[in-house]
Amino acid sequence: MPELNLVQAINQGLHQAMAEDERVLVLGEDVGLNGGVFRATEGLQQKFGADRVVDTPLAEIGILGSSIGLAIDGFRPVCEIQFDGFLPSGMDQILCHMGRMRNRTRGRNTVPMVLRCPHGGLIHAPEHHSESPEAYVCHTPGIKVICPSTPADAKGLLIAAVRDPDPVVFFEPKALYRAVKGEVPQEPYETPIGKARQARIGSDLTLISWGAMVHTCLKAAEILEKEGASAEVLDLRTLAPLDLDAILASAHKTGRVVIAHEAPNMGSWAAEVSALISERSLLSLKAPVKRVGSWDIRMPLFRLEKHYIPDAERVLSAARAILAF
């Protein structure tokens, strides 16, 4: 099987999704000739033409609102918001329309679109290029939210997202675009939406995470192993809808849970996961569920980002604390 990095896997997924369904359109800023600022859409315009791979004017409400319109009108738009920090620019369409259209029209109009957006920090990017805004979207009913951590999942989940009848927001951990490589099947395939992945099997505690932080958790798990503690790592992959069964099964098995992620803790998606475990598995728990997130302040400029986003050390101290509880 060929080895690809995450951005190559996404690129291949987009090529195949466009080839198998001519209703699929790709639109956004710099996605055409330039192939996207991260090259995720490289080669698409050359292959499928400028009518299907469109460099839009610089306008996020325009990109999102017109994607909703195209989706209602029978197309399958895959739009790109160039960076996580520019998602708020289009929030009106996401919060007020994208996830509601099906329900407001009692199923008459649906929005089968995908919104792709890079996610997270640690690439020394300028301000507003390193945000983790997933909670805002996960909090909004009617939308599926994905954040993969491996090339194979990125491709399979992207194809599943394009084929999905409902709107999907697809966050791409930009720290992993080129940093992770893995075997990716050549043919088109779906990785099921709504299913978590056991990234590591363990018995003493569970580290739950998504996106780039999964790799930080795996690193922490290796160190814990040396300290004599067996850590399970659960990669959520899909943030909405959550894989409740997998979360509760692991919590039940280990009785100790740390949830690690890049966003500030307050009101984060980790808070939702924590609440679900506490509500439904209280009696399996041997220690309180612990969240490890960024501090509850804005993402600083990049010189301090490594002191802001949790590293393996911070995941470890949370793990040690609940092991000693």
Partner: protein, 375 residues
Amino acid sequence: MPIISADLSRTERVEILSAEGVRDFSIPVDLPEEQLLWLYRKMIELRLFDERSVKLQRQGRLGTYPMILGQEASQIVPAACLRPKDWLVPTYRGQGAYYARGMQLRYSLLYWAGDDRGVKFPDENNDLIFAIPVGSHLTQAAGLAWGEKLKGKGGVAMAYLGDGTSSKGDLHEALTFCASMKLPAIYIIENNHWAISVPREKQSAGKTLAQKAWGYGAFGVQVDGNDVFAIYKEVSAAVARAREGRGPSVIECETYRLSHHTTADDAGRYRDASEVEAWKRKDPILRLRRYLESQGLWDAEKEARLQKESLAMLEAEIKAYESFPPPNPLDMFSENYAVAPWQLIEERAELQKILETRTGDENLAVLPPAEGRFP
């Protein structure tokens, strides 16, 4: 009934100094020699700064940096039409606008090195930090202008934006507010023909971007954005109108981004080198120098001296920039609220503990004391 024109929109284009450096004296511009030479100096300094910044970035001594090359006139001249207490809101490609108002270049470098201590403007100025989500500052500028109108002392607000940014809905709302309330605002569109890889034609089918202004009841004009005289004439007139309570203006400066979008971009992927070459011949600095020489105001010796002085000034700024001690990570927690809530107090203490146990440069004992107010 005859069909008549329903509005008075008309957008003019102003050019005064040709690419060859020939000035059209039939169009009066009240720009004293001394100020003209000052503008020339600032443009030279800015160009050299830009060159040095790119080199620093390539050497790993600076983060991603947005180049100004080719836009020195449209950067420096509008900001130079303001008083320090007028509001200025540039874009991220705005080191030149801040510099025209006296910001020290060491801080621009510090900012683009990813250090929040780089946000440091002269105390006497009303300079506002730019917005990275493009266009989001435009309605804020309307608010600044509104405030100045309420104060009634003739203050104005000026915001810059790019051709790509003119597509954002924010401009629509900003101009709607400014025009309907007759606010003292000036919007400078630096049309450099590119928004990363997207050419100007894709942003609007209109012939100019300035013409948008008339739809809101604001004044709009396009100028040759590499022409110091044309920019100065139109921007200073717009500032004067704003001070007198005669409402907002949009000045579109047609210029060109001679370099990549930023050091992270490769313009060779999406545009022709021949287009760039053609625009190099319209360089704003070259034409002003030719004009100054033709008037006996400038010569090779003066140029050599200016270059030498500018380079020495830049070396001093770079040295000052590189002599900043590393930031104390606890700085992050300062200045988030007037009074910090409990979670910040807890989290700062947690980070403090982490830093105390780290080794080498990361240890709190060797870091400078934290800056800013906390809690």
